[in-house]
Symmetry: D3
Subunit: 135 residues, 6 copies
């Protein structure tokens, strides 16, 4: 299904190995999911993507880890990214998402989609009170 | 900018008035934002949209009120809904979103968009471990 | 709001004039909406876009003219095209869309968006019976 | 391919059974497609989704049943929902869509996508005559 | 996975055969990819789609052939079109795209997605200097 | 139109000033477009976004500067990002895009959108020859 198959023995490349080792360390797991294998053909793409994911998703922040995953998952659903929906559903679960919370997430995402299409359909004008440039 | 201007004196219609009153009651505010004015030309559309928003966003749940708004906002950004981005940014703030959390939300949403496009670009196959039908 | 302003006196160009005249003839109206003015800087873009719109939307077909506009409008809402939402709402009305039908269209489009996000969120597998390649 | 496998014997749950029975009654068919199996893990999600689909798609209305399915299908194509494209192509056929009408639908949807991208690319301003707030 | 299986012996139809022969001639290859087989059930859809692809992608132009494919691929990624991502990645390679250029394309596309979501999230107003209607 | 107005005197903040100075240096222009003003409320968001844009768009690469802008613009059109369409149309022009090339870009982008919707509509299966995992 992919457009470019990963090489065998990716970790013979020291830059790739360094990133994979850091992923294992940060995630406390030996498992490296496909995303990282498939982008490893370009070390720069691998290093920078991981640096960004690590910083935004793993560093101390004022949004809870599970909440971050719910937001990530919501965007991935709206953008129709099959791979990301799967990997971030798994991530949200690993950070504590219950079945009940999962059902709620699906309800919020699908409600948002519903009102997004209503507002775009009617081209509802933004209330002045919401427009920062007018306040 | 809209495709259909709301009538004046919408609340002369008793079904519209009942919904507007309920919005005011639930939100503890006299303000009714444009969304509800613009969909009030069809009472059924108004009643059912509000019933759904009220249920999903205001009833007791296992996701925090502010988190719900962050998820809603994330979907609205991904779906390019100008109206919804404005109204749910305001809603998230009213439920406590700080500037720092807002900046984080933008970082998570834009990171998700970035990896969504990477995964869709390379058509990365879903890891077997993520696929519920294989487990 | 545009990225390229139309020249004045576009109809001095005979290829542009020919298209504009044909639009007026087919639509039985002197009015030429902005779309055609803004793409007229490239005659080929103008001619081919109009040829396609004319053929698909105006030639005899097995789908009713108003239904065609409803489909066109539905896609334009889902693709967040402000200009197209406005122009095709107007077109649907000129072909007979009532306020009640308009409200129904909005309900169908927003329901579809809702279930689209549910199905993409859960990555629901396609039933074998729907898959033409298996039948 | 899914993120959550349905339990076996879903209909042992009386709320699930009630919805499934209603689907069979309304659709006059014993077949329950995957959508309903996969969302049945949360009875509320199941009940409310079905209530909305039933009301919008099956109740008396001023848009023809097949036309409703064409609109639903158009949105599902634009939103890249594989599951929904399949299920609503099947539904449109069951309501009478011929191969010729199907080809026309594809032409209208793809023409709309084409002009959506032209208008968004050039950021064509909305004609005053289309803007309800100016009239 | 498709919604309509192609007939066997499509080329017995002379209109289909004429298009397939032209595809082979223009592309200098005997291979006809699935796209053309699956749309051949409607000769008009086949002929017009090919005419448009041939004209835009194969005729002399002021944008390089490989660049055209990169643009096509970028849109297909953003629109989540699995089939098109695959076929246009192959096309870009056949026109010379190296692995390094492919990695760069993925970086540009995903960076654009990132800033698209930032700008849509903050609803950043367009600078006057960019707006052609103000200049 | 924005959700958060930039402070006055942003450059009193030394981290903001450093980024703005670098933008001016790299772009050889005193002009700082709105994007950077509006994201400057969070220094980290500003610094990292600029670092990424600078690296991908300005560093030596195997894709031409104007081509990069065409790809960026194509994605921005498909993602319906008004701000980005405007700013990257301007950027493409500043790197040499002629009116004729602009018209071609619009034709390629809109053709891609057209075939994206055809392929998604028919759910055309990927040819084995395109699937790297099968080769």
């Amino acid at each position: 299904m992919s457009t470019r198959k990963p090489s065998a023995n990716l970790e013979k490349n020291s830059r790739v190995k360094a990133v994979f080792d850091d992923i294992r360390r940060v995630r406390k797991s030996a498992f490296i999911n496909n995303m990282w294998h498939y982008i490893a053909f370009d070390e720069d793409l691998l290093e920078r993507t991981w640096a960004d994911v690590k910083r935004v998703m793993s560093e101390p922040s004022e949004i809870e880890p599970m909440t971050k995953e719910l937001i990530y998952l919501a965007v991935s659903i709206a953008n129709s990214c099959t791979y990301c929906v799967h990997s971030h559903t798994a991530a949200a679960r690993s950070k504590g998402m219950s079945d009940k919370q999962y059902a709620e997430l699906i309800k919020i995402v699908s409600l948002a989609a519903r009102t997004n299409h209503i507002a775009n359909g009617l081209q509802i004008p933004v209330d002045d009170v919401f427009d920062a440039d007018k306040n």
